[in-house]
Protein backbone atom coordinates (compact mmCIF):
# COMPACT_ATOMS: atom_id res chain seq x y z
CA UNK A 1 0.00 0.00 0.00
CA UNK A 2 1.31 3.42 -1.02
CA UNK A 3 0.09 6.51 0.77
CA UNK A 4 0.81 9.89 -0.76
CA UNK A 5 0.35 12.35 2.08
CA UNK A 6 0.01 16.13 1.60
CA UNK A 7 2.83 16.14 -0.93
CA UNK A 8 3.90 19.66 -1.88
CA UNK A 9 6.64 20.79 -4.20
CA UNK A 10 7.33 24.18 -5.70
CA UNK A 11 10.03 25.46 -8.02
CA UNK A 12 11.51 28.92 -7.77
CA UNK A 13 12.12 30.68 -11.02
CA UNK A 14 13.81 34.12 -11.20
CA UNK A 15 10.84 36.03 -9.91
CA UNK A 16 8.01 33.60 -9.40
CA UNK A 17 7.25 30.49 -7.43
CA UNK A 18 5.61 27.68 -9.30
CA UNK A 19 3.64 25.16 -7.29
CA UNK A 20 4.08 21.90 -9.21
CA UNK A 21 2.47 19.74 -6.52
CA UNK A 22 -0.08 21.38 -4.29
CA UNK A 23 -0.77 19.37 -1.16
CA UNK A 24 -1.81 16.16 -2.92
CA UNK A 25 -2.90 12.99 -1.14
CA UNK A 26 -4.01 9.57 -2.34
CA UNK A 27 -3.77 5.92 -1.43
CA UNK A 28 -2.70 3.33 -3.94
CA UNK A 29 -3.60 -0.22 -2.99
CA UNK A 30 -1.52 -3.27 -3.79
CA UNK A 31 -2.27 -4.61 -7.23
CA UNK A 32 -4.07 -1.53 -8.45
CA UNK A 33 -3.83 -0.38 -12.03
CA UNK A 34 -4.00 3.37 -11.68
CA UNK A 35 -3.91 6.06 -14.32
CA UNK A 36 -2.92 9.62 -13.59
CA UNK A 37 -4.00 12.02 -16.28
CA UNK A 38 -3.53 15.73 -16.76
CA UNK A 39 -2.60 18.28 -19.36
CA UNK A 40 0.91 19.53 -19.97
CA UNK A 41 2.39 21.22 -16.91
CA UNK A 42 -0.12 19.66 -14.51
CA UNK A 43 2.71 18.20 -12.43
CA UNK A 44 2.59 14.57 -13.56
CA UNK A 45 6.31 14.18 -14.12
CA UNK A 46 7.05 15.97 -10.88
CA UNK A 47 4.83 13.47 -9.07
CA UNK A 48 6.55 10.53 -10.71
CA UNK A 49 9.98 11.91 -9.83
CA UNK A 50 8.86 11.88 -6.20
CA UNK A 51 7.48 8.36 -6.51
CA UNK A 52 10.77 7.25 -8.05
CA UNK A 53 12.69 8.85 -5.19
CA UNK A 54 14.84 11.19 -7.20
CA UNK A 55 13.19 14.37 -5.94
CA UNK A 56 12.58 15.55 -2.37
CA UNK A 57 9.27 17.27 -1.56
CA UNK A 58 9.01 20.61 0.23
CA UNK A 59 6.57 19.01 2.64
CA UNK A 60 4.40 15.94 2.96
CA UNK A 61 5.64 12.46 2.25
CA UNK A 62 4.98 9.10 0.65
CA UNK A 63 4.59 5.95 2.70
CA UNK A 64 5.25 2.48 1.37
CA UNK A 65 3.58 0.23 3.92
CA UNK A 66 5.23 1.51 7.13
CA UNK A 67 8.25 3.13 5.48
CA UNK A 68 8.53 6.89 5.08
CA UNK A 69 10.23 6.97 1.68
CA UNK A 70 11.82 10.39 2.09
CA UNK A 71 13.52 9.44 5.34
CA UNK A 72 15.58 6.80 3.55
CA UNK A 73 19.29 7.50 3.19
CA UNK A 74 22.35 5.83 1.68
CA UNK A 75 22.14 2.05 1.35
CA UNK A 76 18.47 1.90 2.36
CA UNK A 77 17.59 4.43 -0.32
CA UNK A 78 19.47 2.43 -2.97
CA UNK A 79 17.74 -0.76 -1.83
CA UNK A 80 14.32 0.90 -2.04
CA UNK A 81 15.05 2.30 -5.51
CA UNK A 82 15.89 -1.21 -6.64
CA UNK A 83 12.38 -2.30 -5.62
CA UNK A 84 10.74 0.15 -7.98
CA UNK A 85 10.38 -0.40 -11.69
CA UNK A 86 10.18 2.63 -13.92
CA UNK A 87 9.35 2.95 -17.60
CA UNK A 88 10.17 6.23 -19.28
CA UNK A 89 8.73 7.86 -22.36
CA UNK A 90 12.17 8.06 -23.95
CA UNK A 91 13.13 4.40 -23.26
CA UNK A 92 16.63 5.36 -22.06
CA UNK A 93 18.32 2.08 -22.93
CA UNK A 94 22.06 1.44 -22.97
CA UNK A 95 22.81 1.96 -26.66
CA UNK A 96 26.09 0.04 -26.47
CA UNK A 97 24.43 -3.04 -24.97
CA UNK A 98 22.07 -5.54 -26.52
CA UNK A 99 18.56 -6.44 -25.39
CA UNK A 100 19.75 -9.19 -23.09
CA UNK A 101 22.36 -7.00 -21.40
CA UNK A 102 19.91 -4.13 -21.01
CA UNK A 103 17.40 -6.29 -19.19
CA UNK A 104 20.17 -7.82 -17.10
CA UNK A 105 21.46 -4.40 -16.05
CA UNK A 106 19.42 -3.94 -12.83
CA UNK A 107 20.26 -7.53 -11.84
CA UNK A 108 23.97 -6.94 -12.34
CA UNK A 109 23.69 -3.94 -10.05
CA UNK A 110 22.72 -6.23 -7.20
CA UNK A 111 25.40 -8.74 -8.22
CA UNK A 112 23.03 -11.60 -8.99
CA UNK A 113 24.80 -14.72 -10.28
CA UNK A 114 25.14 -15.23 -14.04
CA UNK A 115 22.92 -18.32 -14.10
CA UNK A 116 20.17 -16.65 -12.11
CA UNK A 117 20.38 -13.60 -14.37
CA UNK A 118 20.09 -15.79 -17.46
CA UNK A 119 17.03 -17.52 -16.09
CA UNK A 120 15.31 -14.28 -15.18
CA UNK A 121 16.19 -12.44 -18.39
CA UNK A 122 15.02 -15.33 -20.60
CA UNK A 123 11.74 -15.32 -18.69
CA UNK A 124 11.31 -11.57 -19.18
CA UNK A 125 12.21 -11.67 -22.87
CA UNK A 126 9.40 -14.08 -23.52
CA UNK A 127 7.02 -12.21 -21.19
CA UNK A 128 7.40 -9.02 -23.23
CA UNK A 129 7.37 -10.89 -26.53
CA UNK A 130 10.91 -10.27 -27.69
CA UNK A 131 11.90 -13.86 -28.40
CA UNK A 132 14.78 -14.02 -30.85
CA UNK A 133 15.80 -10.41 -30.17
CA UNK A 134 18.13 -11.03 -27.23
CA UNK A 135 21.25 -10.18 -29.21
CA UNK A 136 19.82 -7.14 -31.02
CA UNK A 137 21.05 -3.66 -30.16
CA UNK A 138 18.56 -0.83 -29.45
CA UNK A 139 19.34 0.88 -32.76
CA UNK A 140 18.02 -2.21 -34.54
CA UNK A 141 14.68 -2.09 -32.71
CA UNK A 142 11.44 -0.19 -33.38
CA UNK A 143 10.06 2.19 -30.78
CA UNK A 144 7.58 -0.41 -29.55
CA UNK A 145 10.29 -3.02 -29.20
CA UNK A 146 12.50 -0.59 -27.30
CA UNK A 147 9.64 0.11 -24.93
CA UNK A 148 9.23 -3.65 -24.44
CA UNK A 149 12.90 -3.86 -23.47
CA UNK A 150 12.39 -0.97 -21.07
CA UNK A 151 9.37 -2.69 -19.52
CA UNK A 152 11.29 -5.94 -19.13
CA UNK A 153 14.17 -4.03 -17.54
CA UNK A 154 11.78 -2.31 -15.13
CA UNK A 155 10.32 -5.67 -14.14
CA UNK A 156 13.68 -7.42 -13.80
CA UNK A 157 14.06 -6.93 -10.08
CA UNK A 158 10.45 -8.06 -9.46
CA UNK A 159 9.30 -4.66 -8.20
CA UNK A 160 6.15 -4.22 -6.16
CA UNK A 161 5.41 -1.00 -8.02
CA UNK A 162 5.74 -0.31 -11.75
CA UNK A 163 5.73 3.37 -12.66
CA UNK A 164 5.17 4.34 -16.28
CA UNK A 165 5.74 7.96 -17.30
CA UNK A 166 4.04 8.54 -20.65
CA UNK A 167 4.98 5.04 -21.80
CA UNK A 168 3.29 5.35 -25.18
CA UNK A 169 3.60 9.02 -26.05
CA UNK A 170 6.33 8.37 -28.59
CA UNK A 171 4.48 5.50 -30.26
CA UNK A 172 1.91 5.20 -33.02
CA UNK A 173 -1.64 4.01 -32.36
CA UNK A 174 -1.10 0.35 -33.21
CA UNK A 175 2.11 0.09 -31.21
CA UNK A 176 0.48 1.96 -28.33
CA UNK A 177 -2.27 -0.63 -28.26
CA UNK A 178 0.22 -3.50 -28.16
CA UNK A 179 2.21 -1.91 -25.34
CA UNK A 180 -0.95 -1.23 -23.34
CA UNK A 181 -2.11 -4.81 -23.89
CA UNK A 182 1.27 -5.94 -22.62
CA UNK A 183 0.92 -3.84 -19.46
CA UNK A 184 -2.55 -5.28 -18.83
CA UNK A 185 -1.24 -8.80 -19.36
CA UNK A 186 1.68 -8.20 -16.99
CA UNK A 187 -0.73 -6.83 -14.44
CA UNK A 188 -2.95 -9.88 -14.77
CA UNK A 189 -0.04 -12.31 -14.51
CA UNK A 190 1.96 -10.69 -11.73
CA UNK A 191 -0.52 -8.51 -9.86
CA UNK A 192 2.17 -5.83 -9.64
CA UNK A 193 0.84 -2.37 -8.77
CA UNK A 194 0.99 -0.23 -11.90
CA UNK A 195 0.79 3.55 -12.10
CA UNK A 196 0.54 4.98 -15.60
CA UNK A 197 1.04 8.67 -16.09
CA UNK A 198 -0.31 10.06 -19.31
CA UNK A 199 -1.99 12.97 -21.02
CA UNK A 200 -3.95 10.65 -23.30
CA UNK A 201 -7.48 9.76 -22.34
CA UNK A 202 -7.47 6.67 -24.54
CA UNK A 203 -4.60 5.17 -22.54
CA UNK A 204 -6.48 5.46 -19.27
CA UNK A 205 -9.70 4.17 -20.83
CA UNK A 206 -7.94 1.19 -22.35
CA UNK A 207 -6.15 -0.14 -19.30
CA UNK A 208 -6.92 1.52 -15.99
CA UNK A 209 -9.39 0.64 -13.29
CA UNK A 210 -8.99 3.87 -11.41
CA UNK A 211 -8.01 7.35 -12.53
CA UNK A 212 -6.71 10.47 -10.85
CA UNK A 213 -7.10 13.73 -12.77
CA UNK A 214 -4.39 16.33 -12.16
CA UNK A 215 -4.63 20.02 -12.83
CA UNK A 216 -2.19 22.76 -11.81
CA UNK A 217 -0.50 20.61 -9.21
CA UNK A 218 -3.67 19.25 -7.58
CA UNK A 219 -5.60 16.00 -7.74
CA UNK A 220 -8.95 17.33 -8.89
CA UNK A 221 -10.71 14.03 -9.35
CA UNK A 222 -10.12 10.48 -8.15
CA UNK A 223 -12.33 7.49 -8.74
CA UNK A 224 -13.10 4.51 -10.93
CA UNK A 225 -12.55 5.15 -14.62
CA UNK A 226 -16.20 4.47 -15.34
CA UNK A 227 -17.49 6.85 -12.70
CA UNK A 228 -15.07 9.69 -13.43
CA UNK A 229 -15.58 9.58 -17.16
CA UNK A 230 -19.36 9.14 -17.17
CA UNK A 231 -20.04 11.89 -14.68
CA UNK A 232 -17.05 14.25 -14.70
CA UNK A 233 -17.16 16.92 -12.01
CA UNK A 234 -14.13 19.08 -12.60
CA UNK A 235 -13.65 21.40 -15.57
CA UNK A 236 -10.34 19.78 -16.44
CA UNK A 237 -11.91 16.33 -16.64
CA UNK A 238 -14.57 17.68 -18.95
CA UNK A 239 -11.91 19.35 -21.03
CA UNK A 240 -9.97 16.10 -21.29
CA UNK A 241 -13.15 14.32 -22.28
CA UNK A 242 -13.59 16.83 -25.05
CA UNK A 243 -16.68 18.61 -23.78
CA UNK A 244 -17.13 21.87 -25.61
CA UNK A 245 -17.74 25.06 -23.72
CA UNK A 246 -21.37 26.05 -23.94
CA UNK A 247 -22.47 22.48 -24.35
CA UNK A 248 -22.27 21.84 -20.63
Amino acid sequence: MIRIENLTKSFKNENSRLVALNNVSANIGNGELLGIIGSSGAGKSTLIRHLSLIEQPDSGTIWLDEIDLFKLKGRDLLRMRRQLGIVFQGYHLLEQKNVYENIAFPLQLVKMSKTEIKKRVDELISLVGLNGKAQAYPVQLSGGQKQRVAIARALASSPSLLLCDEPTSALDVVTTKSILDLLVEIHRKTQVTIVIITHELSVVKAVCQRVIVMDEGSFVEDGSVKQVFTSPKHEMTKLLLGYQEGQL
Binding site: L78, I86, L93, F105, Y137, P138
Partner: protein, 215 residues
Amino acid sequence: MTELLIKGTFDTLYIVSMSTLFALIGGLPIGVLLVIWQKNGIAPFVYGEKILSSFVNTVRSIPFIILIIALFPFTRLIVGRSYGIQASIVALVVGAIPFVARLVESALAEVDEGLIKAAITMGATSWQIVVKVYLVESVPALIRLVSLTMITLVGYAAMAGVVGGGGLGDIAIRYGLHRYQTDVMLLTIVIMVIMVQLIQSSFNFIANRQDRRRP
Protein backbone atom coordinates in the same frame (compact mmCIF):
# COMPACT_ATOMS: atom_id res chain seq x y z
CA MET B 1 71.24 6.66 -41.91
CA THR B 2 68.40 4.18 -42.44
CA GLU B 3 69.28 2.62 -39.13
CA LEU B 4 69.09 6.01 -37.48
CA LEU B 5 65.65 6.67 -38.93
CA ILE B 6 64.37 3.24 -37.94
CA LYS B 7 65.59 3.75 -34.41
CA GLY B 8 64.05 7.23 -34.42
CA THR B 9 60.74 5.82 -35.61
CA PHE B 10 60.66 3.20 -32.90
CA ASP B 11 61.72 5.72 -30.30
CA THR B 12 58.89 8.03 -31.33
CA LEU B 13 56.40 5.16 -31.29
CA TYR B 14 57.65 4.17 -27.86
CA ILE B 15 57.48 7.72 -26.52
CA VAL B 16 54.02 8.27 -27.96
CA SER B 17 52.54 4.97 -26.76
CA MET B 18 53.98 5.22 -23.28
CA SER B 19 52.94 8.81 -22.79
CA THR B 20 49.47 8.10 -24.18
CA LEU B 21 49.15 5.21 -21.75
CA PHE B 22 50.15 7.30 -18.73
CA ALA B 23 48.15 10.30 -19.91
CA LEU B 24 45.07 8.05 -20.05
CA ILE B 25 45.74 6.66 -16.60
CA GLY B 26 45.96 10.21 -15.29
CA GLY B 27 43.43 11.95 -17.52
CA LEU B 28 40.57 9.45 -17.44
CA PRO B 29 39.82 9.75 -13.71
CA ILE B 30 40.16 13.54 -13.88
CA GLY B 31 37.76 13.70 -16.81
CA VAL B 32 35.27 11.48 -14.96
CA LEU B 33 35.50 13.65 -11.84
CA LEU B 34 34.99 16.79 -13.93
CA VAL B 35 31.66 15.32 -15.04
CA ILE B 36 30.31 13.73 -11.86
CA TRP B 37 31.40 16.57 -9.54
CA GLN B 38 29.41 19.16 -11.47
CA LYS B 39 26.51 20.90 -9.77
CA ASN B 40 24.00 18.61 -11.49
CA GLY B 41 26.36 15.65 -11.74
CA ILE B 42 25.79 12.34 -9.99
CA ALA B 43 28.16 13.17 -7.10
CA PRO B 44 28.17 16.97 -6.87
CA PHE B 45 31.31 18.50 -5.34
CA VAL B 46 31.50 21.99 -6.75
CA TYR B 47 34.76 23.07 -5.09
CA GLY B 48 36.57 19.94 -6.21
CA GLU B 49 35.31 20.46 -9.74
CA LYS B 50 36.46 24.11 -9.74
CA ILE B 51 39.93 23.22 -8.50
CA LEU B 52 40.39 20.39 -11.00
CA SER B 53 39.05 22.52 -13.78
CA SER B 54 41.42 25.41 -13.09
CA PHE B 55 44.38 23.00 -12.84
CA VAL B 56 43.41 21.60 -16.23
CA ASN B 57 43.02 25.06 -17.74
CA THR B 58 46.30 26.28 -16.32
CA VAL B 59 48.36 23.43 -17.71
CA ARG B 60 46.57 23.62 -21.04
CA SER B 61 47.31 27.32 -21.40
CA ILE B 62 51.09 26.86 -21.10
CA PRO B 63 52.73 26.41 -24.51
CA PHE B 64 54.17 22.92 -24.60
CA ILE B 65 57.75 23.95 -25.34
CA ILE B 66 57.73 26.17 -22.25
CA LEU B 67 56.11 23.43 -20.20
CA ILE B 68 58.95 21.06 -21.09
CA ILE B 69 61.56 23.55 -19.89
CA ALA B 70 59.58 24.48 -16.79
CA LEU B 71 59.32 20.82 -15.95
CA PHE B 72 63.11 20.20 -16.06
CA PRO B 73 63.54 20.04 -12.27
CA PHE B 74 60.50 17.79 -11.92
CA THR B 75 61.64 15.57 -14.77
CA ARG B 76 65.10 15.24 -13.23
CA LEU B 77 63.47 14.26 -9.96
CA ILE B 78 61.43 11.50 -11.61
CA VAL B 79 63.82 9.98 -14.16
CA GLY B 80 67.18 11.42 -13.08
CA ARG B 81 67.79 13.45 -16.27
CA SER B 82 66.12 16.31 -18.06
CA TYR B 83 66.83 15.06 -21.60
CA GLY B 84 66.34 11.79 -23.47
CA ILE B 85 63.42 9.49 -24.10
CA GLN B 86 62.35 9.02 -20.48
CA ALA B 87 62.43 12.75 -19.87
CA SER B 88 60.30 13.34 -22.97
CA ILE B 89 57.71 10.94 -21.70
CA VAL B 90 57.45 12.75 -18.37
CA ALA B 91 56.89 16.11 -20.03
CA LEU B 92 54.43 14.69 -22.54
CA VAL B 93 52.40 12.95 -19.86
CA VAL B 94 52.10 16.12 -17.80
CA GLY B 95 51.14 18.09 -20.90
CA ALA B 96 48.65 15.50 -22.15
CA ILE B 97 46.78 14.69 -18.92
CA PRO B 98 44.67 17.88 -19.01
CA PHE B 99 44.10 17.39 -22.72
CA VAL B 100 42.85 13.84 -22.15
CA ALA B 101 40.77 14.97 -19.17
CA ARG B 102 38.87 17.52 -21.28
CA LEU B 103 38.33 14.99 -24.06
CA VAL B 104 37.01 12.44 -21.57
CA GLU B 105 34.77 15.09 -20.09
CA SER B 106 33.20 15.94 -23.43
CA ALA B 107 32.88 12.26 -24.40
CA LEU B 108 30.95 11.52 -21.19
CA ALA B 109 28.83 14.64 -21.57
CA GLU B 110 27.41 13.06 -24.72
CA VAL B 111 25.82 10.21 -22.73
CA ASP B 112 22.00 10.47 -22.58
CA GLU B 113 21.12 12.32 -19.40
CA GLY B 114 17.85 10.38 -19.14
CA LEU B 115 19.81 7.15 -19.10
CA ILE B 116 21.87 8.41 -16.16
CA LYS B 117 18.63 9.36 -14.35
CA ALA B 118 17.26 5.93 -15.19
CA ALA B 119 20.32 4.25 -13.71
CA ILE B 120 19.91 6.31 -10.53
CA THR B 121 16.29 5.23 -10.20
CA MET B 122 17.41 1.64 -10.62
CA GLY B 123 19.53 2.04 -7.51
CA ALA B 124 22.94 2.15 -9.17
CA THR B 125 25.76 3.53 -7.04
CA SER B 126 27.87 6.39 -8.39
CA TRP B 127 30.68 3.94 -9.09
CA GLN B 128 28.32 1.65 -11.00
CA ILE B 129 27.02 4.57 -13.03
CA VAL B 130 30.55 5.60 -13.99
CA VAL B 131 31.73 2.11 -14.89
CA LYS B 132 28.56 0.54 -16.29
CA VAL B 133 26.90 3.54 -17.90
CA TYR B 134 29.22 6.48 -18.58
CA LEU B 135 32.26 4.50 -19.68
CA VAL B 136 30.36 1.71 -21.44
CA GLU B 137 28.23 4.15 -23.41
CA SER B 138 31.20 6.21 -24.53
CA VAL B 139 33.46 3.36 -25.65
CA PRO B 140 33.57 4.48 -29.31
CA ALA B 141 34.28 8.07 -28.29
CA LEU B 142 36.99 6.90 -25.90
CA ILE B 143 38.68 4.86 -28.63
CA ARG B 144 38.69 7.89 -30.92
CA LEU B 145 40.07 9.91 -28.04
CA VAL B 146 43.04 7.54 -27.74
CA SER B 147 43.89 8.04 -31.38
CA LEU B 148 43.51 11.81 -31.14
CA THR B 149 45.81 11.83 -28.12
CA MET B 150 48.42 9.70 -29.90
CA ILE B 151 48.35 11.91 -32.97
CA THR B 152 48.70 15.05 -30.90
CA LEU B 153 51.56 13.45 -29.02
CA VAL B 154 53.39 12.59 -32.25
CA GLY B 155 53.59 16.33 -32.84
CA TYR B 156 54.43 17.15 -29.23
CA ALA B 157 57.08 14.42 -29.13
CA ALA B 158 58.75 16.10 -32.10
CA MET B 159 58.77 19.34 -30.13
CA ALA B 160 60.36 17.55 -27.21
CA GLY B 161 63.07 16.60 -29.71
CA VAL B 162 64.13 20.26 -29.68
CA VAL B 163 65.52 19.80 -26.21
CA GLY B 164 67.12 16.44 -26.95
CA GLY B 165 64.05 14.37 -26.26
CA GLY B 166 64.92 11.56 -28.67
CA GLY B 167 62.84 10.17 -31.51
CA LEU B 168 62.16 11.57 -34.98
CA GLY B 169 61.93 15.19 -33.86
CA ASP B 170 65.36 14.95 -32.31
CA ILE B 171 66.79 13.55 -35.56
CA ALA B 172 65.07 16.19 -37.66
CA ILE B 173 66.59 18.95 -35.55
CA ARG B 174 70.10 17.49 -35.23
CA TYR B 175 70.52 16.42 -38.86
CA GLY B 176 68.00 18.49 -40.75
CA LEU B 177 68.42 21.78 -38.96
CA HIS B 178 71.94 21.82 -37.55
CA ARG B 179 73.68 19.86 -40.37
CA TYR B 180 71.54 21.03 -43.26
CA GLN B 181 70.62 17.46 -44.30
CA THR B 182 67.30 18.37 -45.84
CA ASP B 183 66.67 14.80 -47.01
CA VAL B 184 66.72 13.56 -43.42
CA MET B 185 64.35 16.30 -42.44
CA LEU B 186 61.96 15.37 -45.25
CA LEU B 187 62.13 11.68 -44.45
CA THR B 188 61.24 12.28 -40.80
CA ILE B 189 58.26 14.30 -41.95
CA VAL B 190 57.13 11.54 -44.32
CA ILE B 191 57.45 8.94 -41.59
CA MET B 192 55.45 11.05 -39.16
CA VAL B 193 52.69 11.64 -41.71
CA ILE B 194 52.43 7.91 -42.36
CA MET B 195 52.44 7.24 -38.62
CA VAL B 196 49.58 9.65 -38.06
CA GLN B 197 47.58 8.17 -40.94
CA LEU B 198 48.04 4.64 -39.63
CA ILE B 199 47.04 5.58 -36.10
CA GLN B 200 44.02 7.45 -37.36
CA SER B 201 42.70 4.75 -39.67
CA SER B 202 43.33 1.78 -37.38
CA PHE B 203 41.65 3.41 -34.39
CA ASN B 204 38.79 4.64 -36.52
CA PHE B 205 38.28 1.09 -37.72
CA ILE B 206 38.15 -0.25 -34.15
CA ALA B 207 35.90 2.59 -32.97
CA ASN B 208 33.42 1.98 -35.77
CA ARG B 209 33.33 -1.72 -35.03
CA GLN B 210 32.63 -1.03 -31.37
CA ASP B 211 29.93 1.52 -32.14
CA ARG B 212 26.61 -0.25 -31.58
CA ARG B 213 24.60 2.80 -32.51
CA ARG B 214 25.23 2.14 -36.18
CA PRO B 215 22.55 -0.09 -37.70
